[in-house]
Symmetry: C2
Subunit: 390 residues, 2 copies
Amino acid sequence: MGYRILETDDIPGYLRERGHWGDGTDIRVREVSDGNMNRVFLASSGDGTRSLAVKQALPWVRVAGPSWPMSPERADAEARAYDQVAKVAPDKIPAIHGYDPENYALVMEDMSDLEVLRTRLNEGEPYGPHTSARSGEFVAQLSFATSDFGMPSAERKALIAASVSPELCKITEDVVLSEPYIEHEHNHWHEGLDDLAAEFRADTRLRTEVADLRHTFMTSAQALLHGDLHTGSIMVGERESAHVVRVFDPEFSFVGPVGYDLGLYWANALVSQERARALGTLSDHADQLRLSWEAFEAEFRRLWPTRLDAFFDDAYVDRFLRRVWTESLGYAGTEIVRRIIGFAHLTDLTTLPDPVPASRRALLLGRELIVRREELSDVDAVRAVVESLT
Amino acid sequence: MGYRILETDDIPGYLRERGHWGDGTDIRVREVSDGNMNRVFLASSGDGTRSLAVKQALPWVRVAGPSWPMSPERADAEARAYDQVAKVAPDKIPAIHGYDPENYALVMEDMSDLEVLRTRLNEGEPYGPHTSARSGEFVAQLSFATSDFGMPSAERKALIAASVSPELCKITEDVVLSEPYIEHEHNHWHEGLDDLAAEFRADTRLRTEVADLRHTFMTSAQALLHGDLHTGSIMVGERESAHVVRVFDPEFSFVGPVGYDLGLYWANALVSQERARALGTLSDHADQLRLSWEAFEAEFRRLWPTRLDAFFDDAYVDRFLRRVWTESLGYAGTEIVRRIIGFAHLTDLTTLPDPVPASRRALLLGRELIVRREELSDVDAVRAVVESLT
């Protein structure tokens, strides 16, 4: 019957047709669309004992409308990523009850009892002891399983072919990895940053380093990525007195450099740290890069002995992890910069009483991470850069 | 009607059916299969005024027979590579008259007036002034056009997806980039090399460097490669007093690191140099790495201003070419080593009266190229390594 755009009233019938819900019960539905791209509905039984979420990709960017068309096939990428993660880290994503490729719709766990990590941080809460560790493990588990270490060669080549994502990769290539460093109509910034924005556009060394990270993003087919692992793509909360961390929205997923996922997480951790510093609410923020890296590295090394291809020796994993570390720092830098002088900004900074001082510190940090990523060899070196900012 | 294996007697009818030859004329056919993998027939008119070659991939390795099955889809990869090259370097490949995907058969230019470069070199001839220059330009033209510099982003992602070649890449990953460094039933070598073969298997530094090159081969989607650019994949000769160079047999083609193509060419140039040195017929052999690199670099830089993506600045091309240089040296090293203590050896060395001294020099050179590729920063540094061999 072909693709149809689901409205609130369609959801009960849709869930029954697809076998997710029996005929007898009452289904209440509300739209809770929040991200820029897609529609999300929550369906629950009248007695509150059961609920599901339905997420549908529209053939355009939701917040822009049909004037900004975008293929709904991004939902295929999302479903494919969830499939891969479900094999190795099912506790770190929402439960997926079904994917309907005809309507680009996912039926999944209702996570409305959890909170978006960014929202919680912006309200002055700490990360808590588990969030960054689970996030680092998530990257390790997904990337190991979909790398040449964890996946048979032929299966991996098929995954690379199936996962190419020209439209969404192009957004990253443009919006994250070039526009902020050139004159572009997408760019905007607080007037208190005029001097730095101009300086960044004139910085030829910075430009060449970003070009290098951009080409790596385009060519380095290391593993399946989440592709957009910021603090708005992570939900946290408590269930039955256990801390729950759920990574979601992997629609930018493709096979790329592992450091891109870690880098996005770090950029958001470092920016949240600047927000907390500006507000005087700094608590555990400064430790999140370390916690996520150590969890990533520990989990990757724990998986290493299970690698399918024994030719990759123990000395090689050291070199590989070193490269991931270095590239992660570079991508963290590009993510910080683009979120301040590029197209889409972060509420972490924009909602500060005076966004300028924290934004200036973050911009300078971003540049250091990009241009000095080879020499910043460990967590302490990064911490020293943060502490040296004025 | 499905795939059928073509025999000599089928060729006239086949060429007529496919519209390559009218009904009136006499067609004489002979089989000239020479490589390991495929069948080749030459068809010519009785009066000698017209000729064509037909190349068909069998569902197995030709020289081994059905006991070594291999998908004939390698002919798809070959046809796809010829398509890409035809757009940018049609003078450097045979003219392709048609591809029949149902029968995995290419109808192409008869090159029987030309000679395989390896054959000519083994007979003591020099390279001549054009061979390496044209080969270097071939790599530059194909790689630029199929890189993110020369091809629009979405088209390139489609090319990556279409060009994955699990079966043939696995051969390279195994036979070239791991087996020679471990105990493997494929490996064999002259008994005069027992000590070096054992030393190489025990060399942990060498192993880690090869692992690095191997992982780069698996993950670095820089550009469409020929994939097997040795001196047996190049034909040379004179036509109408012009020097002709034709690269053929790109069935190992896939999107990979550019240095792999250059490295294979260099390995074969360096081995031919050792043969000539052993026989006392050294003429222009020592200059071929330089000639091919300079032609590659000059052509790539000539194309650079035509790049589609201006974010890649002039400083970035320097860095990119430096990386291609370094990786080319590494792959040259792996190709030399595998051709002496791995599965498939080179007649350049095996037909020497005493293959041992030249093979020992070449093996030691190969190792140096692999482990010292970062510090061997130019042609003179490589030449110094060659001259220091004992």
